[in-house]
């Protein structure tokens, strides 16, 4: 599994689709994006296992700002970070995209 992460609007999906040569249909069939929206959830490890069965998983980083005042938001961004760690551990390749530019954090370039 390839895990792609990075800040909001960084061009994560465009970059990886170009790198893999995937069209819209390939992407829908083989990838899942915005997995940070699947939290909070009671069993993060099971969620990570389920997601890791896909070929490509994309998440947006949420943990870089000020700690939110709202408890629900705090739990969500904490879990989004934990989920990203679990996905990175399960991934063969981890790429972070910033300003549309990829950086390899684990494994080999696709």
């Amino acid at each position: 599994m390839i895990f792609v992460t990075g800040p909001l609007y960084a061009g994560k999906e465009s970059y990886i689709r170009r790198a893999l040569g995937w069209d819209e249909a390939d992407f829908r069939a083989r990838a899942v994006r915005d997995v940070q929206e699947l939290v909070p959830c009671d069993d993060l490890a099971a969620l990570a296992d389920r997601l890791a069965a896909r070929e490509l998983v994309i998440a947006t980083e949420l943990g870089g700002g000020v700690v939110p005042v709202d408890a629900g938001m705090r739990r969500k961004r904490e879990q989004a970070g934990r989920l990203a760690c679990l996905l990175a551990a399960r991934a063969d390749t981890v790429i972070r995209v910033c300003c549309g530019l990829p950086q390899l954090l684990k494994g080999e370039w696709p």
């Binding site: 800040p7 909001l8 947006t60 980083e61 949420l62 961004r77 300003c99 530019l101």
Partner: protein
Amino acid sequence: MLSLIIGGAGSGKSAFAEALCEKLDGERLYIATMHTEGAESLARIERHRRQRAGLGFETLECPLSLDKAAIPAGANALLEDLSNLLANEMFSPGGGGAEAVRRGLSRALSRCGNLTVVTNEVFSGGEDYGAGTLAFLRELAALNRELAARADLVTEIVCGLPNVLKGELP
């Protein structure tokens, strides 16, 4: 040469960008984008002026309309910063939105021998913002990606240290 320097608040991106400009050729020009009003702005401007003192930068105040700025041909310019310029164009009276910034960058690129653009990493704190802020983030991200695609050098600054994303440091 076009360089894009991105970093969070207090990451040392300005000092890094200034040091980068020192290594590049051309008449040094500091394109200052902050509106010169308000105590906090003035204090920040003063800190940046002290930091630049002795580096031989001419300062060009340009809170709006970069496309009309008097940039000498072949200048070694440091634009600080893109997010501020975009916020001015989007939210202050007389602003022309992201398109005005795009036009300005395009003109600056054609005038400068070396252009170094400082921009802000403000995209890792989630999406829990109002519509205006989200629109600003979308436009800034698009400008960042466009500049990164054209740039010779793109580096993120972390704790004052460069994490090079594209090209090589001179």
